[in-house]
């Protein structure tokens, strides 16, 4: 803990204006670390900054209240809405899942996991088996007892050729799930994986009741009971007063209603007029409108999610290294961040891991970036490549994607390179264009660890290796890190992998995004996990309404 020295200022010694500035920074989503950074940059000592922030956090913190009703609106919904965890697609699905079910493990804000339905877990010596001890005395909403059978059934739905699970690549190396006794289960793996407990904290690994096949009104162990679920219309969730978690007073809110308002303007209007209390995916253009309103505030969490331009290295022109290097030198990363993302997010380094990954992000490998903006160098590289023009297929797969490509096009024109932008519809993009056209765009959400992210999108034989970059050393580093339980050794491998990927891949990753949502100031208590919208969708059992 930091101690206050005589002469240092406390939070209450500041002027009321300074106090408001700090409080509003904290409210709008700056973390303690970020605010302390600002304060120290302006000359405060660590101790003073710590005291000031603690004071401000105390001023913000209030005892959570019970009761009330919250309506939240998402940007996407439709007939494909589902309560079947293995098929979850949108963050609306994730939210409903978090209301209705539990995982074995739960994400904390620093991206480590803590106990949820599993109370403790350990691996064998070569990390090929994980044993999970399960929580006793947990009941499903229908009154039946939670046991190992439910876990084994839920987990086995991700295994095998016939599985429809959207997350099966994450657990592809798990051979089997075995019930040891009523409250112990064991995962048996083909190869070592130190990150299994982290993977099991993600959205698709919810625990359903043994034998469930009809997911139109499924039971679960979660903090809320799904009272009504109509895909593409709405869902209603009532508080589970029999919830097992007694660490806190929650769940607090009496009832949640979830539905979609797909129109960006209409969604903002609904929040401003008080018809809803939470809305996902705030269009950066509406930031000011929200900030000016007493009924609404921005909730932004910097994440590792990123938009990217891919040059496929196995096709022309991406198979020419000088061409790819040339383009990489034409990215104005700071301007993309400032203009397109309104300053919210982080600079990217052409590899998928950003600062939001916390300890997994390797500063030495990424700051400064491998290929800084350098039009002269780009010009000579492009000239050397002998290529004078290329065609980039663009769909608006993430907000601002097209603008980002146009910015690159402008830089290309300046050095005399003809980059043609071909705009294609979002509809059917992933099947028809992505990984088919030699230059295309894509957008990735954050994954729970650097290793998982790099394995999914850059491992040589990964089905989604979008630039077809193949590097044996990189693959080996990923596998070694997965088998390594020593954190500092793992970090070293992580660093080397990120460096290799930044220098070798065909990706142009200028920036990392933030998840920007908005809510009523009356809704409080959000955790800030960066892996999905609204603080990782971990809010259901924690938030409360200050009526």
């Amino acid at each position: 803990m930091t101690t206050k020295r005589p002469g240092d200022l406390g939070f209450n010694d500041l002027s009321s204006m300074d106090r408001e500035v700090i409080k509003s920074a904290l409210r709008q989503g700056a973390t303690r670390r970020e605010v302390m950074g600002y304060l120290m940059a302006s000359g405060a000592t660590i101790a003073a900054a710590g005291t000031i922030v603690t004071g401000a956090q105390d001023a913000l913190a209030m005892t959570p209240k019970k009761g009330g009703q919250i309506r939240f609106a998402w940007d996407l919904h439709g007939p494909s809405d589902t309560l079947d965890p293995i098929l979850f697609t949108s963050s609306l699905d994730y939210g409903r899942g978090r209301l209705n079910y539990n995982n074995l493990t739960r994400f904390r804000e620093d991206l480590t996991v803590g106990p949820e339905l599993a109370t403790e877990w350990e691996a064998n010596a070569d990390v090929t088996e994980w044993t999970f001890k399960l929580r006793k005395g947990v009941e499903f909403h229908d009154g039946s007892k939670f046991t190992a059978d439910d876990v084994v059934y839920s987990m086995k739905r991700h295994l095998g050729k016939e599985s429809l699970s959207k997350a099966k690549v994450l657990v592809a190396t798990v051979k089997d799930w075995v019930k040891v006794d009523d409250f112990t289960v064991k995962a048996v793996m083909e190869e070592p994986n130190a990150e299994l407990p982290i993977i099991l904290g993600t959205f698709h690994f919810k625990i359903v009741k043994n034998g469930t096949t009809d997911f139109s009104a499924p039971t679960g162990t979660g903090p809320y009971i799904t009272k009504e679920f109509k895909p593409g219309v709405r869902s209603v969730h009532d508080r589970n007063d029999n919830y097992w978690n007694t660490d806190h007073e929650g769940p607090y809110v009496e009832q949640f209603e979830a539905f979609g308002i797909t129109d960006n303007v209409a969604r903002v209007n609904a929040l401003l007029s008080g018809d809803i209390q939470m809305m996902a995916q705030l269009d950066p253009k509406a930031l000011k409108q929200i900030e000016d309103s007493p009924n609404a505030e921005v909730f932004a969490v910097p994440s590792g999610a990123y938009p990217t331009i891919s040059c496929m290295l196995d096709k022309e022109p991406g198979n020419n290294p000088d061409f790819v290097m040339g383009l990489k030198h034409l990215q104005r990363r700071d301007r993309v961040l400032k203009v397109i993302q309104k300053g919210i997010g982080a600079i990217g380094n052409d590899q998928p891991v950003g600062p939001a990954y916390g300890a997994d992000w390797c500063k030495a490998a990424n700051d400064p970036v491998a290929f800084p903006y350098d039009p002269d160098k780009a010009k000579s590289l492009l000239k050397k490549s002998g290529i004078t023009g290329a065609e980039l297929h663009v769909a608006e797969v993430s907000p601002g994607m097209t603008d980002m490509c146009l910015m690159l096009q402008r830089e290309c024109t300046k050095v005399g390179f003809n980059l043609q932008i071909k705009k294609v519809p979002n509809d059917g993009y992933w099947g028809a264009v992505w990984m088919k056209q030699p230059m295309n765009v894509s957008s990735w959400n954050m994954r729970p660890s650097a290793n998982i992210m790099m394995t999914l999108a850059y491992k040589s034989d990964a089905p989604w290796n979008e630039t077809q970059w193949k590097n044996e050393r990189f693959d080996k580093l990923l596998a070694m890190a997965r088998a390594e339980l020593d954190a500092s050794k793992r970090a070293e491998m992580n660093c080397e992998a990120q460096k290799l990927c930044a220098e070798g891949s065909g990706s142009l990753i200028s920036t990392h995004r933030a998840y920007i949502d908005a809510k009523s100031p009356k809704v409080k208590g959000f955790p800030r996990v960066p892996i999905a919208a609204f603080g990782g969708m971990e809010w259901p059992e924690f938030i409360w309404l200050d009526a």
Partner: protein
């Protein structure tokens, strides 16, 4: 005579339904990607794609897919949504109610309103009232519906706070409460559809007013009001009901933008969602409903115009 015509029309309607179903099926085949591809999106792997295609029956040849859909239809089974696995009945069920409710209210307000305003304009052609009505409606036709909607939201919901900005029914509201919640989309749609119907009514009546028998009536000294109500209106009903029918059909199938802006779960948005997810059973079901609506409404319009015009009852 009349019953023969109705039976023939129903027969044509059934053939039309079949043609539409073939067309919809063919068009959804042309679109890039199938339901499995769209559902898995960026997360598709060859293995999961194959497993999902098998589950959805998309691995069979196209004619088998169509035949099995037809077979199910004849046994009253609309099938399962390829996008999410819910039954089509459950997806369509409460949306039909929503769409019918909104269409009904809008029709109840807009039809009498537009016939009345159209009559008023026709009664005093060229005068101030007529000028206001014609230029007002022309302006409203020119403004897109989403603009009217957003403007009404900003004015009535965000600034004045009189009515809710999203039209969102929980299903437990009474009639008046529902009308209150739906006030904005109802107002928007009344404005949008009335403008056209008003102009059509006015034009229809003025058109008849130029015919020789009206001239005769004027020469006989019949007051203008009586001429319009008794002679002109009845003869103008044919075109007017047809415009009304087309507008009602539009309210059922074409109000995607309004449903999107107000987050009102109706049929039109459902069909668009279905197309986007290549959910053939869902698109087919919506297509059938829309086609039926058109066939029935036009049939009613034709019957109304025949009843109002004795000459049409005895074709030469």
């Amino acid at each position: 005579m009349m019953s023969q015509m109705i039976i023939r029309r129903i027969g044509i309607g059934i053939i039309l339904l079949w043609v539409v179903s073939v067309l919809i099926f063919a068009l959804t085949q042309v679109l890039p990607g199938d339901a499995a591809q769209i559902r898995l999106g960026q997360q598709a792997t060859p293995e999961t794609l194959a497993a999902l295609r098998k589950e959805l029956g998309l691995d069979k040849p196209w004619y088998m897919q169509y035949l099995s859909w037809m077979g199910n239809l004849f046994t009253g089974n609309l099938g399962i949504s390829a996008a999410g696995g819910a039954t089509i009945e459950s997806l369509i069920g409460n949306r039909i109610g929503n769409t019918v409710f909104m269409t009904g209210i809008v029709a109840l307000i807009s039809i009498p309103l537009s016939v009345l305003l159209g009559l008023l304009a026709a009664m005093f052609p060229g005068q101030l009232l007529d000028r206001i009505i014609t230029s007002g409606t022309l302006g409203l036709i020119a403004v897109p519906d989403f603009f009217v909607a957003i403007f009404l939201i900003l004015l009535l919901a965000v600034s004045l706070g009189l009515v809710p900005a999203v039209s969102y029914l929980s299903g437990t509201e009474g009639f008046w409460r529902s009308v209150y919640v739906l006030a904005l989309p109802i107002a928007t749609l009344v404005i949008v559809v009335s403008a056209q119907m008003i102009r059509m009514t006015r034009a229809g009546i003025l058109n008849v007013m130029g015919s020789p028998y009206i001239e005769m009536a004027i020469l006989k000294g019949v007051p203008r009001k009586t001429i319009i109500l008794r002679h002109a209106l009845l003869n103008a009903i044919g075109p007017i009901v047809n415009v009304i029918a087309l507008n009602l059909a539009y309210l059922v199938s074409g109000v995607v933008v309004i449903e999107t802006i107000f987050a009102y779960p109706g049929l039109a948005k459902l069909m668009v969602d279905g197309v986007q997810t290549r959910d053939i059973p869902l698109v087919q079901a919506c297509g059938m409903i829309f086609c039926c609506t058109y066939v029935i409404l036009i049939l009613i319009a034709d019957i109304a115009s025949i009843l109002s015009n004795p000459r049409l009852r005895h074709p030469k």
